[in-house]
Subunit: 388 residues, 2 copies
């Protein structure tokens, strides 16, 4: 823990099979107008929508419908959500869904009482909110992004071919989040594994950086080991509560700032993945899995001791008689086998990317400084080509 | 994560060499009268007292002196602290010290505006506060108890020969805690290692219970591995910032509710240790170390799979050709060696306990239900005798 830092995470979490009951405890804290945010309507099929609306009605709330949030929420949808909130004097933004709905709710939250265009203010100029924030609550139906306990919000601008994340402060984090692992049971397997890889990669992004003996790295390994073990149960039996609950909990702690405390972080796989997402609109977790191995193989020599530690601690590689390079390489091979077992996208072509997009994706890739090797543009192009 | 639970920890932490600077950010949130709580006066020798008073004065605060908090804060001291707070209309209780000062501050916090006797209300009847709470802030000078980010408060009643802990809710947790690892450098080695064992045992108490595949147990192992590694550096070089900062951070996360989420917990070593403390007034961490091995050896057969996992994951025991009993036993042996390397108390006699106290200590031991074996009174006596 060599760095100075602060830690403050005020989100209240309710976890378990009865978690939704606690919505009754939270609703009295907010005004009458609840903007109910959801996605493509799967919550109407699995009954969660009806349950939530019933609780809202029992608590005397006006329900303002705001469905149709797409997997990569767009700037147009954001502007529409802000309009809805203004017209209805929304008191609480209640997101029922996965990270897209939570991210979108936060973006609306900081924009309702702000005169400027939200995209320009937060996703181009990265300003902090200077207007009153509308509180956000989440009811999670998909584990992956960690948006339920952080200030992150990713918005896509298809016209500009940009997918940009802004990490807002404590005051924008959800006031409460409701996590019932059973709500994730009906998710299609492809979405489940994309979420699992999103979790795993969030941990990697914070782990593969820095060289001190840092408690955060031990915690990162613990979360990786837990999610790997549970993922192998969940792909065989998606309704295994124990496995799905561990996956849901690791998702929250993989990205609520804990495992980055006191250390540097990388985040280049997310930068490559988000740039790809802006071009292909592919599922977020799959864009990460498609670029991961080419990226990690490229940076491995620059952060060799950490990749050796990763192989030993996370993948139980037997080190006897092997060079550091061999140990690190065997760790990445085991990770690759696990990814294939889950059925993740292993290249960008599967996601609709083509050779002629590479230069554009490289242009849209923000290059960060925290990893073991600061990439130049040629290296970005070369990693993207190796990912095709 | 098979259990239902909530998680909410509102304490704001400032960590690092410059952490005290942030006291300037926090003080404006509170009224003028600051009750400055500290222990035996070591902070006057090492300069921390002067620094804190300077910041308080710069922020226009009245400083109400409340020193002399003893290592095991007594009910008499608590009553005195409540009187001081009432007479001075205290707006903020600022504890500068270790867990004793933080625990005491929380006990005063819930008692100032309460008519009943604090001991009777909170430590005999275990009621929740129903009066206005005076906010608490902590400046930590000793790592161990985790009191800086939880609602726990242990008070000793020497007359009744009882040392009792009450875990208060989110609203009693410190509003902020300032954690500068350098503030722990001047601590005598005996206090440092007692704190380290307190951390380690907090983790054990939450780990040695339950049999599901629980993310919390992976996190517990991570914290154990980090504190073991850093402890071995710190006993050689107490001013190694990296080691002391990891120890400080693991202390906080070992007991801020995270690693108990979704699982049962044990806490019998603390019950035995606290009963011993009420008789001997010995250092808390040393009472825990003195009873630990007899206790864990006794319960090991009842929780064998977890002790095997502990041996493999925490102590890297090679399992080849060994029975589960042998693996578990080797894990406990390695733990014993580590404890001896640190110079911990390995029996109760070192702490001033004698044969004739055993029955009384057994009477004062609260028997809990969450561990692998619910003890009966004969077993408590037998473990205490084996600890002599």
């Amino acid at each position: 823990m060599l760095g100075n830092f602060s830690y403050h995470n005020p989100t209240k979490l309710y976890f378990g099979k009865n978690a939704l009951d606690y919505l009754n405890d939270e609703l009295p804290k907010y005004g009458k107008n609840v903007q109910l945010i959801y996605g493509g309507g799967s919550i109407k099929k699995n009954g969660i929508y009806d349950k939530v609306v019933e609780i809202l009605k029992q608590n005397g709330k006006n329900v303002i419908d705001d469905g149709g949030v797409m997997p990569n929420p767009t700037v147009e949808k954001l502007r529409d959500g802000v309009r809805i909130a203004r017209e209805n004097k929304t008191d609480l933004l209640l997101a029922v869904g996965g990270g897209s709905c939570c991210d979108y709710a936060k973006a609306v939250s900081v924009s309702v009482n702000c005169d400027e265009d939200a995209w320009e203010k937060y996703y181009v100029r990265f300003e902090n909110p200077d207007c009153e924030i509308v509180p956000v609550g989440c009811i999670l139906t998909m584990a992956g992004t960690g948006s339920e306990m952080n200030g992150g919000s990713v918005i896509t601008n298809h016209q500009a071919k940009l997918k940009i994340g802004h990490v807002f402060g404590d005051d924008v984090m959800p006031k409460f989040s409701i996590l019932n692992p059973e709500f994730t049971f009906s998710l299609p397997k492809r979405q489940m594994v994309a979420g699992i890889y999103d979790i795993f990669n969030h941990i990697c992004e914070q782990y593969f950086s820095g060289d001190d003996d840092n408690t955060s790295d031990y915690l990162a390994e613990a979360l990786m080991k837990s999610v790997i073990k549970s993922s192998l149960t969940a792909i065989e039996n998606p309704e295994n509560y124990e496995a799905r609950s561990n996956i849901m909990w690791t998702a929250t702690w993989a990205l609520n700032t804990l495992i980055s405390r006191g250390k540097t972080t990388d985040w280049m796989v997310h930068m490559l993945g988000q740039a790809t997402g802006a071009y292909t609109d592919a599922t977020h977790g799959m864009t990460l899995s498609a670029v991961s191995l080419p990226y990690y193989k490229f940076i491995c020599p620059y952060g060799l001791p950490k990749f050796v530690r990763f192989a030993k601690e996370v993948w139980n590689v037997d080190t006897t008689g092997k060079s550091d390079e061999e140990i690190a390489s065997e760790g990445l091979s085991r990770m690759e086998n696990w990814m294939k077992t889950l059925g993740l996208a292993m290249n960008l072509r599967e996601l609709g990317a083509t050779e002629d997009m590479i230069e554009g994706i490289a242009d849209a890739t923000i290059i960060l400084q925290g990893g073991y090797k600061v990439l130049n543009r040629d290296e970005v192009v070369s990693i993207l080509k190796a990912s095709l």
